[in-house]
């Protein structure tokens, strides 16, 4: 049976992030985790392809901390099986390491026809892991899809770029990264959630995919993070008030002229 693999990243929920007021550093501990937004679009697209063509759908996730709840959600949405590489040694890995580990995991999963990724992850937003993985697997890579069409042997994709749309085609197997506009991810029904509890999540350690601890984490990476700080916004926050809209407008325009951004 043809198979689609979706790469799901578990990200921090960015809407819950706060800075530590004493250091100005970002606090991610205790912030809830979820499937990265665009990856849900990738998953939804894969489910639609599966439903139409009767393909098998597996997800794959690499992380150094627990991800089961996220994978359960993916299974409830419609994935058949979840593969997870979970190992503490992965902490500090860059996109190069992450994509290399994903490539090893995909190799162990076996044959596939299509891999879908998100355009970028909501926390890292590097847009690197997809193209890197395709490169490691030596298959065609197509980024920024807003429409995907599958035939037996090919994938046709409409890409959305800064100022143009591009229709491209490649032979399967291929890797495609999707944008948010490609679809609206479904919310699983209670029934689907219950059924999903019977589906399988397979967890591997690094050793199971023949990767050593030295190859991952900071020691295996090409880039290391030195510091994460919170940007300061020095805004004036002046409230312009008035009885009427005209009065408010008058006060605003005066300020803008003073600022030198309006007028001569």
């Amino acid at each position: 049976m043809p198979r689609i693999i979706v790469c799901l990243k578990q990200s921090v929920d960015v809407s819950q992030l706060k800075a530590d007021p004493s250091t100005g550093r970002l606090v991610t501990a205790g912030v809830s985790r979820k499937i990265s937004d665009f990856d849900k679009n990738a998953l939804e697209e894969a489910i639609r392809i599966k439903e139409k063509n009767g393909w098998e759908l597996a997800t794959v996730t690499v992380n150094f901390e627990e991800v089961k709840a996220s994978i359960r959600e993916a299974l409830a949405m419609g994935a058949d099986k979840g593969f997870v590489v979970l190992d503490e040694a992965l902490k500090g890995s860059d996109t190069w390491v992450t994509s290399s580990v994903l490539a090893k995991a995909v190799g162990k999963i076996g044959e596939f026809d299509l891999i879908l990724c998100g355009e970028a992850s909501i926390d890292g937003f590097s847009a690197q892991v997809g193209p890197r993985l395709g490169e490691l697997l030596k298959i065609p890579v197509i980024t920024y899809a807003r429409k995907i069409n599958i035939t037996q042997k090919t994938v046709q994709v409409e890409r959305v770029l800064e100022d143009q749309y591009e229709t491209v085609e490649a032979n399967l197997p291929a890797l495609v990264t999707v944008t948010k506009e490609i679809n609206e991810p479904r919310i699983p029904s209670l029934m689907a959630i219950m059924k999903a509890s019977k589906k399988e999540i397979l967890t591997w350690k690094l050793a199971d995919i023949e990767v050593s601890a030295e190859e991952v984490g900071e020691s295996g990476s090409g880039v290391r993070i030195r510091d994460v700080t919170v940007p300061q916004v020095g805004r004036k926050k002046i409230r312009i008030e008035g009885e009427t809209a005209a009065e408010i407008a008058e006060k605003l325009v005066k300020e803008l002229v003073k600022e030198g951004v309006v007028g001569k």
Partner: protein, 321 residues
């Protein structure tokens, strides 16, 4: 850091390539090495001269018929060969969508790291490249440095101001190579609706969000834009859900830094703010007194945009005449 030497710049977009030279110039100076621009394609003599005027010490020109129309795979193959032969220590690539795709794959082929969308770049005490960029949807700035070479970074347009052109001497070096046919075939290209001035270039941007009920209501915005000679922008849902526009301002859209930004009916979600944070003066109009956009605004106008916008147009017309 081994034998690797030289700072390279590449973008399929000529203007962005000049900005990359402005970024690379101090890096090359600090490392006491050459700054090269890479040109892929046909007849490039004039372009090469222009790049030298904008700061390149050397222009590496690969002339191959397969490079005349842009294709990520042929560029990737050419850059990989070139880098393996010449061993640059830093490669700067323009962070267009294609450029980011290309950079990720180049970094993979060269077995190295890549930092995307950098806004600041410098060389540390030990000679490693260090970059700063926004992560967590605009919630944080991460400082990163490299552990391997070449050190690849992508840089968005308008992050660096291109250098004033002046007459200088530089080398143009032609390289020929064979390249395979790409695996992905481009079947069709369709240009998006173009506006006269790009929003990234506009001095004044008036941005609308979901608080605008109908597309026709953008007529207020148009009038204000005309009065101020500004451009109109919008949030992502107006493009994606309502299909009124083909692009938007924000993390996943355009980054703007106008002298004046006026946001109307925009809640100020972090992903939108990431695209307008660097505006010089920010005015926000929202009927919700608690709207998050007010946290990043200089002038806060609590009220209905349908009342306030026309009043501003009226007032401006009076003032500007």
């Amino acid at each position: 850091m081994g034998e690797k030497k030289g700072v390279w710049a590449f973008s399929e977009n000529m203007e962005l390539l000049k900005e990359l030279l402005a970024c690379g110039s101090p890096l090359a100076a600090k490392l006491d090495t050459e700054l090269s621009a890479v040109l892929l394609g046909g007849d490039m003599k004039e372009k090469a001269n222009e790049l030298i005027k904008h700061g390149a010490d050397r222009v590496l020109i690969v002339d191959n018929p397969n490079l005349r129309a842009f294709h990520i795979e042929t560029c990737l193959a050419a850059l990989t060969k070139l880098a393996k032969e010449k061993n640059p220590q830093i490669i700067l690539i323009g962070a267009t969508k294609n450029g980011k795709d290309l950079a990720s794959r180049l970094a993979t082929r060269l077995q190295t790291g890549c930092t995307p969308d950098c806004s600041q770049l410098f060389v540390d005490e030990e000679g490693w490249l260090t970059t700063k960029r926004i992560v967590f949807s605009g919630n944080a700035i991460v400082t990163a440095s490299y552990l391997k070479t070449p050190q690849i970074a992508t840089i968005p347009s308008r992050t660096f101001e291109k250098l004033e052109p002046h007459e200088r001497t530089g080398n143009a070096e032609k390289i020929s190579m064979s390249l395979e046919e790409p695996k992905v075939k481009i079947m069709k290209i369709e240009k998006m609706e173009a506006t006269d001035v790009k929003i990234e270039d506009a001095k004044i941007v008036i941005c609308g969000g979901r608080g605008v009920e109908k597309k026709e209501d953008f007529s207020f915005f148009k009038e204000l834009a005309r009065t101020l000679q500004g451009q109109i922008g919008n949030t992502r849902p107006l493009a994606e859900d309502r299909k009124w526009f083909s692009s938007w301002v924000g993390l996943s859209g355009k980054k703007i830094k106008p002298a004046l930004y006026i946001g109307c009916g925009i809640s100020g979600m972090i992903q939108h703010v990431a695209g307008m944070r660097d505006s010089q003066v920010v005015v926000a109009i929202n009927k919700d007194p608690e709207a998050a956009i007010f946290e990043v605004a200089d002038y806060i106008l609590v009220g209905d945009l349908y009342e306030i916008l026309p009043a501003i147009v009226q007032e401006l017309k009076k003032t500007l005449n």
